[in-house]
């Protein structure tokens, strides 16, 4: 980039971010964002509730609009794209066949491995898009617990054989980069900050579950502000009480996520701050087993075997 281009870019970004007075090293770092290199996302939904998409729109700062203009580009998204129908299918096809340039595949929702017709887009089953994209995409981002682990559609007794993106590609012997961003719904920061990391620094450090360590390396329990209550054995015995929620069934000890530090929804709240036990929505086995309910209402109930 030459000096004139840099100044033009700097001015645009300054207007977008209000960063006129940042220290010189930071301004220098911004040189790294080349408009042409902003990741283009082809965002496809499988067996999804769209909660993760809605969650992405709850990003605090940078704003969702800034995120989809300056840090990434949503080449296609069911909820936001202006175009629909055949023109939309042509757009998706052009990217997936490799004719529209580099892109990342973002997948929200599970894949119905035992019943392909349980998810159709246009005239193809969902799996066909995933298979075709594997050979042209830079990598994939599994947005939310459904795409990362199967999620609620994969609950015990489901009829569609719902599985995660990783499991689906493994079945096809496809070995491409997949970043798993768990959460039901995923926290907007976990997705957007991963993308920002990719744009400005490179691939983030991943845990052995394939998730960015920045958000997913420590359990909720280890970071919980009620850890003191746990230590002092100040336990809530009924729903609605404060104190440690462990005896009501809180899955903080099993669940790796930084909710206690990040909070949710413009930092107004998070589950445990509302006296609501963690239900393990970012845990790989979230909601999987019928005989492992979310709550224990009384101490007399037998502890359940955790699989």
């Amino acid at each position: 980039m030459d000096r004139r281009e840099f100044l033009k870019l700097g001015a645009t970004l300054s207007a977008a971010f209000g960063i006129l007075n940042l220290p010189k090293p930071v301004i220098a770092a911004l040189k790294k964002i080349e408009p042409q290199s902003i990741p283009k996302l082809i965002y496809l939904q499988g067996q999804s509730c769209s909660g993760c998409s809605v969650s992405l729109l709850q990003a605090a700062s940078p704003s969702p609009l800034t995120l989809i203009t300056n840090y990434s580009q949503l080449a296609f998204h069911t909820d936001l794209s202006a175009v629909s129908g055949k023109k939309a299918l042509d757009l998706i096809e052009k990217y997936i066949s490799g004719k529209a340039g580099d892109y990342y595949l973002a997948v929200e929702g599970a894949i119905p491995a035992k019943m392909p017709e349980a998810c159709v887009i246009g005239d193809k089953v969902f799996g066909q898009y995933l298979e075709a994209a594997a050979s042209t995409m830079i990598g994939a981002v599994a947005v939310g617990s459904c795409a990362s682990d199967g999620g609620i559609p994969a609950a015990e007794g489901n009829l569609t054989g719902a599985i995660s993106l990783r499991q689906y590609y493994k079945q096809l012997n496809i070995n491409k980069l997949i970043i798993n961003l768990r959460g039901c719904s995923v926290h907007p920061d976990w997705v957007w900050q991963t993308i920002i990391n990719i744009v400005k620094v490179g691939l983030p450090e991943l845990t052995d579950q394939g998730s960015p360590a920045l958000f997913y390396s420590r359990k909720v329990h280890e970071q919980c502000p009620r850890y003191h209550d746990f230590q002092q054995e100040i336990f809530a015995t009924k729903l609605g009480e404060g104190g440690c929620l462990f005896k009501l069934g809180c899955l903080g000890p099993d669940t790796a996520a930084d909710c206690p530090n990040r909070w949710w929804n413009l930092s107004q709240s998070w589950c445990i701050a509302a006296n609501a036990p963690c239900i393990g929505c970012a845990w790989p086995n979230f909601a999987r087993k019928k005989d492992f309910p979310f709550y224990r209402l009384s101490e007399q109930k037998k502890p359940i075997e955790r699989s």
Binding site: A15, P35, G51, S81, A82, G157, S269, N275
Partner: protein, 503 residues
């Protein structure tokens, strides 16, 4: 000629519409829900208190509605005495969710049907947001990349608003609405724990405390949302209506209207609600009776019996079933096709003369735009209805916060019986929502949901009566038979959610 309009975008989920067009007129339309998960199957055998968590995942746009309907059904089953605070908190959470949803629907989902996004290139003012977008669009168009300015371009061919100031104003509000909807959800999350998917909603109330600092934060956020509604959103709806007056005559559904009522004013079972429930069929209103709801599956991908009542409902998926075209069942009320949603909710309440605030707003706006209240059954009528519902809800929520008792309990003592059953009904943003739970041996034996878009996007029933959206599409003139922007505008006015419809 046959033209498939799917994948429909700027809705929730997997929707295709197969149209048959002759001489620029839609003579047939088939709404196809194209994604299935089967909640009613995998809920069986689970602990009942899992239900209001699991059913929220039917939909990440309106999860709170499912949590509330499930909570009502469980409250009825367990015979809970809900403390007033518990019911108020349910209302505060659910009401705030409606406020975000209507904004998201009008701006992020629907606005691009009407607003000319390229008008930003003519902007000559100093607003930082608009300049940023202008520069971005210019840079995109000059970049030579495939699909510049995606996802806002490309778009369907059609007539968009020509007035430059109206376009620019609406684009500015699109950007602002993206910020304001977050605040509505932040308010809901103060009591709900987080959005999407609340963890603090339970049968019998909420786990959060009725603390004065939480109440004050909630009120402040809702005030901001309310101001946006009155100063920007409602004027924008009226401006779009003025620019496209023909859409008062386009998109009418050809059946009745159903509402289950929204926001109970006391914590008694069967309490009066801010918006009353009712079935409006052939111009006559009657109280809702869940026993009159049946679900046909002749054209739906299930081999289970057709015409079952909710309590007896079952499903066996049959992905290759001949003659079937949708994963959505065909619910009917007394055998009749009905529309649900904000327009239905307004018409039912207005017809009963129930809420004077509803009547006043309908009469005022109908007067302003020069229509009869019956024209609410139209593309524009649905957008106007959402705005009216939001205005009424915003004021109610601010009053509700004053009724919280900062010293009182917020949740009932929950004791789950060995067996029992119950219905829970509410109005999600998109309309009438019903949950039914039956418990045996302390576990869920049966769980059934009839969801708003199940009604609206329903396929034909066993008597080949089209669903509400199908009936609204049939007979529509389309200028371009390939793009059919007129049809897409009709679909968007219903605000469909296919994840909900199929569940």
């Amino acid at each position: 000629m046959k033209v498939s309009l799917g994948p429909i975008t700027r809705i929730e989920g997997h929707l295709n519409i197969e149209t048959t067009v002759e001489k620029n007129k839609i003579v047939d339309a088939r709404c196809k829900g194209e994604m299935f998960r089967g909640f009613e199957v995998f809920l069986q055998g689970r602990d009942p208190l899992d239900a209001q968590q699991i059913t929220q995942r039917i939909c990440g746009v309106c999860p709170y509605a499912h949590a509330i309907a499930s909570s009502y059904a469980q409250e009825s089953t367990y015979n809970l005495n809900v403390p007033p605070n518990g019911r108020i908190m349910h209302n505060l959470i659910q009401g705030a969710n409606h406020l975000y949803d209507y904004l998201l629907q009008f701006y992020q989902l629907a606005a691009l049907d009407f607003i000319d996004v390229t008008a930003i290139l003519q902007y000559k003012g100093k607003d930082a947001d608009l300049l940023t977008v202008k520069n971005w669009v210019q840079a995109e168009l000059a970049s030579g990349k495939s699909y510049p300015a995606a996802p806002f371009l490309p778009r369907l061919s059609g007539k968009y608003i020509k007035d430059k100031d109206l376009n620019i104003g609406a684009l500015k509000h699109y950007i602002e609405a993206m910020e304001i909807q977050k605040k509505a959800n932040a308010a809901a999350a103060i009591f709900g724990g987080k959005f999407p998917h609340s963890t603090s909603i339970f049968p019998g109330g909420c786990t959060q405390n009725a603390r004065i600092d939480l109440i004050a934060s909630y009120q402040s956020l809702i005030h901001e949302v309310r101001d946006f509604y009155h100063n920007k959103y409602i004027p924008d709806v009226l401006a779009v209506a003025k620019a496209f007056p023909e859409y008062w005559e386009i998109g009418a559904s050809k059946g009745g209207f159903l509402s289950f009522g929204l926001l109970p004013v006391t914590s008694e079972p069967n309490s009066e609600r801010v918006f009353s429930s009712g079935a409006l069929l052939n111009g006559d209103i009657s109280p809702v009776n869940f026993e009159l709801i049946t679900e046909d599956v002749k054209h739906s991908l299930y081999s289970s019996p057709s015409g079952l009542k909710v309590k007896d409902s079952t499903l066996t998926p049959s992905p290759h079933k001949s003659g079937a075209y949708s994963w959505i069942k065909a619910p009917r009320y007394q055998g009749q096709m009905v529309e649900v949603g904000s327009a239905a909710r307004i018409l039912v309440d207005y017809h009963q003369g129930h809420n004077p605030k509803v009547k006043k707003l309908v009469d005022t706006f109908a007067g302003q735009v020069g229509i009869k209240p019956s024209k609410i059954n139209s593309v524009l009528g649905r957008y106007l209805s959402r705005a009216i519902c939001g205005a009424v809800i915003a004021d109610f929520l601010l009053d509700e916060t004053e009724r919280l008792d900062t010293k009182g309990p917020t949740i009932a003592d929950i004791k789950i019986p060995a067996s029992g059953e119950g219905f829970g009904a509410t109005e999600a943003s998109r309309g009438a929502l019903l949950h039914y739970i039956r418990i045996k041996n302390y576990k869920i034996e049966r769980y059934e949901c009839v969801v708003p878009t199940t009604w609206n996007a329903s396929p034909r029933d066993d008597n080949n009566q089209p669903g509400a959206m199908e009936s609204a599409l049939i007979g529509t003139h389309v200028q371009d038979p390939e793009d059919q922007i007129e049809a897409v505008r009709i679909v968007h006015s219903f605000d469909p959610c296919i994840a909900c419809a199929v569940h």
